[in-house]
């Protein structure tokens, strides 16, 4: 069996990230969670992830502020923005800042999983090991 895709969920809503982690784990992903940008940086310093699922509006380090730091801390990870705040400005800024995709909450788990696999596959294709 192939190595599981390593996902890091960064979201200030505890229940959201925990249930998402449970769902993704059930579906064969290897999941870690962080309650904010700072915690995510600490996690990534311990071990890299393949895909980072990043919220935008968080107390402390916001998603926008965290994006460049996360990409610097873990260049091999793809960042998938998942937020309840639909704003064309934020979306384009995040994509310009290197995020691979931008999804709006609420997002059915199947769709999110599809997006995670898609950005992961794209990364594998463009950066062969």
């Amino acid at each position: 069996m192939a190595d599981p895709i390593r996902v890091c969920i960064v979201d200030d809503e505890e229940r959201f990230r925990d249930t998402l982690a449970k769902l993704l784990s059930r579906h064969g992903f290897s999941v870690r969670t962080a309650g904010g940008g700072q915690e995510a940086l600490e996690l990534l310093a311990q071990a890299p992830s393949d895909v980072i699922v990043l919220d935008v509006k968080m107390p402390g380090l916001s998603g926008e502020q965290a994006l460049p730091l996360l990409r610097a801390a873990c260049p091999e990870a793809e960042v998938l923005v998942l937020t309840g705040h639909a704003s064309v400005d934020i979306a384009s800024a995040m994509i310009a800042g290197g995020a691979a995709d931008y999804l709006l909450k609420p997002c059915p788990t199947e769709e999110l999983e599809g997006a995670i696999r898609a950005v992961y596959d794209r990364r594998q294709a463009t950066r062969p090991r």
Binding site: T19, L23, G84, H85, C107, T109
Partner: protein, 313 residues
């Protein structure tokens, strides 16, 4: 010189053009003067005719002037109303996109819990104890998050409702005490004391009692959330210059100076997601304004905050 200015219609804000007053601004006073001069300077036979002609044109000019000014004022007022309306619409638009954003978060949780519960219950035969308790937990969480959406929308409806206040006479202390009793149990549980400092012989107030209750309850809950064990919430009433004030003072965390401007904004909250809606103070502010009063906050960060409702007597 007046004439020169008046050749161009005076442009108001947003392209509004006042109707042209020229040449009547010169004709009316000029001919009135001419009529007076004519009666004084010319021989009697001529002056009557001259004065009559000048006077007639002068009256015509003055009437035109008055009509144009009235029309201009009417259009100005209409524009004011339009402007007010568009500002209101903008505010509502901003508010509803704020609602959508806020509600997306609880909805995201609901969606996930549903996905999980569906998945677990998909094949019921093999349900382990752990799966069963996960499924029950998911359903409980769905109910909780739906309630969270309901709270947001309900507070918002209160906010938007164009409800005319229903005024009744009531002792202010009574209104405050009703709400103090509501939170006193919880306060005791948290080790927070509630102190009273009511001004003696306050006259009854004429106000919408349920609305005022809601305001006081909002202020009390905020104070309770901000105050650590061992702290005190003080309820004060005062009377000055035909007004009464109600203050809710706490010894809690206080408000950071940079947040002072934002605390009355809808959806501004420093509480954790799910804990605060950020609507309490904005709703209260709206209610107090509707009651003809004002709501103000002062705070020394780290030492506490005071919220003061001032109402007309």
């Amino acid at each position: 010189m007046n004439a020169k200015n008046s050749t161009k219609p005076e442009a108001g804000p947003e392209g509004f053009a006042f109707p042209p007053l020229w040449p009547h601004t010169v004709l009316a006073p000029g001919l009135a003067g001419a009529a007076v001069l004519a009666t004084l300077l010319t021989p009697p036979a001529v002056d009557v005719a001259l004065a009559l002609v000048a006077g007639a044109i002068c009256i015509g000019s003055a009437l035109t002037l008055a009509r144009r000014i009235r029309r201009g004022e009417g259009e100005l007022r209409e524009m004011d109303l339009r402007l007010l309306h568009s500002q209101k619409l903008a505010a509502i638009g901003e508010l509803s996109s704020g609602i959508a954003h806020e509600i997306n978060n609880p909805l995201a949780i609901i969606t996930q819990e549903l996905d999980l519960a569906r998945e677990i219950t998909a094949d019921c035969q093999g349900l382990s104890d752990e799966d069963l308790s996960d499924a029950r937990d998911s359903l409980r969480e769905i109910a909780k998050q739906v309630d969270r959406c309901r709270q947001i929308t309900h507070k918002l409806l209160n906010f938007a409702r164009k409800m005319e206040p229903v005024l009744q006479e009531e002792a202010l202390e009574q209104v405050i005490e009703d709400m103090a009793l509501l939170v006193e149990k919880e306060a005791q549980g948290r080790g927070v004391a509630i102190a009273r400092d009511y001004a003696p012989d306050l006259p009854h107030v004429r106000t919408d009692v349920p609305l005022l209750r809601q305001v006081i309850l909002n202020l009390l809950t905020n104070a309770l959330h901000a105050t650590p064990p061992g702290g005190t919430i003080t309820l004060l009433t005062r009377r000055a210059d035909g007004q009464v004030s109600i203050a809710v003072r706490d010894t809690g965390c206080g408000i950071a100076p940079e947040n002072m401007e934002k605390i009355f904004d809808p959806f501004f909250t420093t509480k954790e997601p799910g804990k605060g809606t950020g609507l309490g103070l904005s709703v209260s502010h709206g209610i107090v304004a509707r009651l003809g009063g004002s709501l103000a906050a002062t705070s020394r960060p780290g030492q506490g905050a005071t919220f003061t409702v001032t109402l007309p007597l």
